[in-house]
Symmetry: C2
Subunit: 178 residues, 2 copies
């Protein structure tokens, strides 16, 4: 429980990240039969599940480049999948909405994605399925809450020869002398 375990925890998380990176890659292959790219699918999903999002909202939440997203949305609009309505409140932004055509197009993708996950789950007993979902919920709950933006965190125990602590805050890494 001491600092000695920090390395082990980090390794465990990294192993999981490698594992799940691959898993997600495999799962996404299934949607490859659709005419949409992964990014397009993610955007479609958000469009289908939000009230009247703006482009900026989607870009922020999906972590997409604004320009990139703009093109994706332009493509959707051209294909008649979405409608852009000028915002009354702020003339710079448009409120986005799936058209009926958009919903019809999206529906089979949704089925495909569901069935794929269903197949994955189906390979396991109900008990295992429950444990899996519980573990996922736990991770989401733990990592989903925004971490405190306050103190820097000790990453490695001090060792002779170290110049100080090595700390990382918000992705940036610093060395700090004693």
């Amino acid at each position: 429980m001491a600092a000695r375990d920090v390395e082990a925890r980090i390794e465990a998380v990294r192993r999981f990240n490698r594992f799940y990176t691959r898993k997600i890659g495999v799962l996404h292959e299934g949607l490859l039969q659709s005419p949409f790219s992964l990014a397009q699918t993610r955007v479609l999903y958000e469009l289908a599940h939000r009230e009247r999002p703006t482009a900026g909202e989607l870009a922020r939440d999906l972590g997409l480049d604004a320009g990139y997203l703009s093109r994706i949305l332009a493509g959707f609009a051209k294909a008649g999948l979405i409608e852009k309505v000028h915002s009354e409140a702020d003339g710079r932004q448009s409120l986005l909405r799936l058209t009926d055509e958009g919903r019809r197009t999206f529906a089979p993708l949704e089925v495909l994605a569901r069935d794929e996950i269903g197949a994955m789950l189906g390979a396991h007993s109900l008990d295992e399925q429950d444990r899996l979902v519980a573990a996922m919920d736990a991770i989401e709950r733990l990592l989903g809450a925004k971490p405190e933006a306050t103190a820097p965190y000790l990453l490695r125990p001090h060792q002779t020869g170290d110049i100080g602590w090595v700390v990382a805050v918000h992705g940036a890494v610093y060395a700090r002398e004693y």
Copy 2:
């Protein structure tokens, strides 16, 4: 616990996938400062942690296109990061190995990646960290074991009007009549 819950489980897994897709994306941003792409980094990692892998082995395990990987490896070889040794056993394949230079190049990446995860963990209490790691281990254990390649799995409970079961096996989706 009945089939009624299937949909709920599927939704939970999908939500987690969306969540973790984003998480991984954010975590990879940190390595953006390095001169290597995500794919290159993954390959480097495997090279550093395997005995004498072949290109095919890496391509399979990382899910990379053979041609794409070939170019990545050619780049590494050109930069003096790896060495290809003709396999005695099979003249078609080469055994790959990081050079000392390769190890030196890889080391700071490893530190960066570790510190990034460390920062993530550091935002949580030790107890939370333990629960996080336990949940990740659970998922890996459950999904890591190769599922039985036998029976098709029931995805949705029967409803009036259904033509039959909708089943999915290994990513392919079939309809089956009663």
